[in-house]
């Protein structure tokens, strides 16, 4: 509500009082101030003004009323009726007015107090309302802003999964000089950016002229899968040999590809490491909407982007293995053993095949070290390993284990019973033979820890923990 200006209020109050005065003059000229009436309009109006506008306006009304009572009537009488006005006229008027005037003054004070207190409450409420309104306005703005922010964030998160920024940061992660991790990331990137639901990475084995499964995404463990693919007569082999991309549309155009197609490939691209084709990346299943030119181009772009990082990681890993290969035994270090074991496990699980791991520990390593030196002990290990290799029909893969007095083997196609028997054969062979090194007879005392892949033990960590445990138990 618009607040009235004090001057306007004063003018309004004065106008009403003047009207009252005129009425008083014309209606009861001999009773200035309406003192003969049971109520006094002037004083009641003053109380009314107090209630409406406050005590100061009440006092003002009272003052104007007194002026209107005291001056106009005697002045008229004096000037127009030649009436002689003496001081006693005002004394008489004063005597009449003293009681209502005093009551009105008290009334103005009391009503003024009540009004002030009500006004204070009202002002407080007004202030609270104002604050609430202001806060609400701020809150409304905030809500609007938050809605904008949330919409933007949601959109950002929605598009984040396959955003270029994300691709960039994932490519940066590839420069970790860890080839295995690099391939893992490649699988993750390609799967994320192409929308593939089933995909795999295959490594080319130059010696055996075949592609071997390195890792996969989305393979169903319940389904029978092949983990080795010949280079000839397969789409994967065709991609590897020709260093070209395969897209399933090509099956409809080229008869040779149609013949090779076994329903495994939708998009297959070569993975280049260095100047050679290292293997292939294969998409086996992808939503129909995602199978388009854009995805094809994106996949090729991803391969081009990851190639330098993979190249560096491969070089680094090859160098690091070469550096760490024992010069006497020629066996790779434990780190390489772990990587190979993980690879073999992932492949064997899908083949539903068998695999065993064995750790051989030389118990009298300290004595032999004193007798033969470190290189001599390694030479003894080599000798033992050659015999073990013969026993395994050249199938065992040899590595150094965590300590210098330990070596480990990966034995493919051997279950737990077979492995137990194989261990007995090794112990028999070692105990029966005379071991000679630099024309000196040596007596190796060994303990064996072994384990095999089962339904409940599937990870490399689990298998090694069991084998190590068995080893420790024999030492007690």
């Amino acid at each position: 509500m618009k607040q009235q200006r004090p001057a306007v209020i004063l003018a309004e109050l004065s106008a009403v009082l003047v009207v009252l005065g005129i009425a008083n003059f014309f209606l009861t000229i001999n009773d200035p101030g309406y003192f003969s009436l049971p109520f006094n309009p002037y004083f009641i109006f003053a109380l009314f003004a107090t209630l409406l506008y406050g005590k100061y306006y009440g006092l003002f009304s009272l003052l104007v009323s007194i002026i209107l009572i005291v001056i106009p009537t005697p002045a008229y009488k004096y000037f127009f009726e030649s009436y002689h006005i003496t001081f006693s006229y005002w004394i008489k008027l004063g005597q009449k007015a003293v009681t209502p005037f005093s009551l009105t003054l008290v009334g103005i004070f009391v009503f003024g107090l009540i009004r002030d207190s009500l006004k204070l409450d009202l002002d407080k409420t007004k202030y609270i309302l104002n604050t609430i309104t202001k806060e609400k306005a701020i809150l409304d703005n905030e809500v609007k802003a938050l809605k904008k922010v949330n919409r933007e964030l949601e959109m950002r998160v929605y598009t984040q999964e396959d955003s270029t920024v994300m691709l960039y940061s994932k490519i940066q992660e590839l420069y970790s000089h860890n080839f295995q991790k690099g391939l893992d990331l490649l699988l993750n990137i390609a799967q994320t950016y192409t929308g593939a639901t089933v995909c795999s990475i295959w490594e080319y084995n130059q010696e055996l002229k075949r592609l071997e499964l390195r890792m996969n995404f989305g393979w169903d463990m319940d389904m029978d899968r092949i983990t080795r693919i010949p280079v000839e007569d397969s789409i994967e082999g065709w991609v590897l040999r020709n260093n070209m991309m395969f897209s399933v549309r090509m099956v409809m155009q080229y008869e040779n590809l149609a013949r090779m197609d076994k329903g495994r490939n939708i998009l297959t691209v070569p993975i280049a490491v260095g100047h050679k084709v290292w293997g292939v990346f294969n998409i086996e299943d992808i939503p129909f909407e995602k199978y388009n030119l854009y995805t094809e181009k994106y996949l090729l772009m991803i391969m081009a982007l990851v190639a330098p990082a993979l190249d560096k990681a491969f070089e680094y890993e090859a160098f690091s293995i070469q550096e760490n290969v024992n010069v006497v035994t020629g066996f790779p270090p434990f780190s390489h053993f772990y990587i190979i074991l993980e690879q073999e496990l992932s492949r064997v699980k899908f083949e539903k095949g068998r695999l065993s791991v064995m750790i051989v520990e030389l118990v009298n390593y300290g004595d032999l070290l004193h007798e033969l030196s470190k290189d001599g002990v390694f030479a003894l290990f080599l000798l033992i390993s050659e015999r073990i290799k013969e026993l395994s029909d050249n199938k065992a893969m040899f590595f150094h284990y965590k300590n210098d007095n330990q070596i480990s083997y990966i034995l493919p196609n051997l279950d737990y019973d077979g492995c137990s028997l194989f261990c007995l054969n090794i112990l028999e062979m070692i105990n029966k033979r005379d071991w000679e090194l630099n024309k000196k007879t040596v007596l190796p005392e060994i303990v064996l820890g072994y384990t095999s892949l089962t339904d409940d033990k599937q990870s490399a960590e689990d298998l090694l923990a069991i084998a190590e445990n068995l080893l420790e138990m024999q030492k007690v």
């Binding site: 701020i138 703005n141 905030e142 609007k144 802003a145 904008k148 922010v149 949330n150 933007e152 964030l153 949601e154 950002r156 998160v157 929605y158 984040q160 999964e161 955003s163 920024v165 994300m166 940061s169 399933v248 549309r249 099956v251 409809m252 155009q253 329903g263 299943d285 939503p287 129909f288 909407e289 199978y291 388009n292 030119l293 854009y294």
Partner: protein, 252 residues
């Protein structure tokens, strides 16, 4: 961005510049900076998947109740990685976040079930099927649970179906459920039982199913039919048509 906002960015270097979104919000409340600054600060976030995690941004995303399924799946993927974190606090946060998303779905499902009891509206069954299907998608890694949700979604759809007709949206849902189950042949027979001639959307759905069944020649034929049926096609379908058919005819 309008002129006023642009003007703000040109002049914002004068005076106070809050560093964090929270400080920007406080400054805005006190009339020190305009709201654009807060929006700018709040949306200048790094990728939600990037480590170390920006929990403020994740919290804000998690607080939005009606996130679409694609974003939900992406968030679930992040939380499932987070659960395996070596830091127990982060792992716990991940688990809590998964719980929040799942219980949000469960609450919605419970609400729909109650509504179904009261109103008996068949459309609620479709909604329930949709929710169960989405729950199955976010339980991707837990195969048994996923199958259970898919089965429930399928039963709700079957239950809601009156006669032989299904609205396109619900037919698409049914096909999606069957494809998630890897029942590719059933999906094919379901769609082939419907009159789909000269209906681009349905033909496209059929192409999807044929693709899943690895019948690429059929996909080619269906896409040619879509091209000829003259319906208004969206850009995505047009791109796919161009990719498969192009301007040239196939050399059979």
């Amino acid at each position: 961005m309008n002129e006023q906002e642009l003007h703000f960015f040109r002049t914002k270097n004068e005076g106070y510049e809050p560093f964090t979104p929270a400080a920007a919000l406080k400054a805005f409340e006190n009339d020190i900076i305009p709201i654009e600054f807060f929006i700018n600060k709040s949306t200048s976030v790094k990728s939600i998947e990037e480590k170390p995690y920006d929990f403020e941004a994740i919290d804000r995303m998690l607080a939005i109740k009606d996130i679409d399924i694609k974003t939900t799946r992406f968030l679930m993927m992040i939380f499932k990685i987070m659960v395996k974190d070596r830091d127990s606090e982060r792992a716990l946060y991940g688990a809590e976040a998964i719980n929040v998303i799942e219980s949000r779905y469960n609450k919605r499902i419970e609400m729909l079930k109650e509504k179904l009891k009261k109103e008996g509206d068949q459309n609620i069954k479709y909604e329930l099927a949709q929710k169960y299907y989405e729950l199955a998608l976010i339980s991707e890694k837990q195969k048994d649970i996923k199958r259970f949700f898919l089965k429930t979604a399928y039963y709700y759809l079957k239950d809601a179906k009156t006669g032989n007709t299904l609205a396109f949206k619900n037919l698409e849902l049914l096909i999606n459920i069957l494809l998630e189950f890897n029942f590719n042949k059933q999906a094919l027979s379901t769609i082939k039982n419907i009159d789909i001639k000269h209906k681009a959307a349905l033909l496209f759905l059929l192409a999807r199913v044929e693709f899943k069944n690895k019948h690429y020649n059929e996909v080619y034929k269906i896409l040619q039919e879509i091209k000829q049926c003259g319906d208004t096609l969206d850009d995505e379908i047009k791109k796919i048509l161009e990719y498969w058919i192009g301007n040239n005819e196939r050399a059979d």
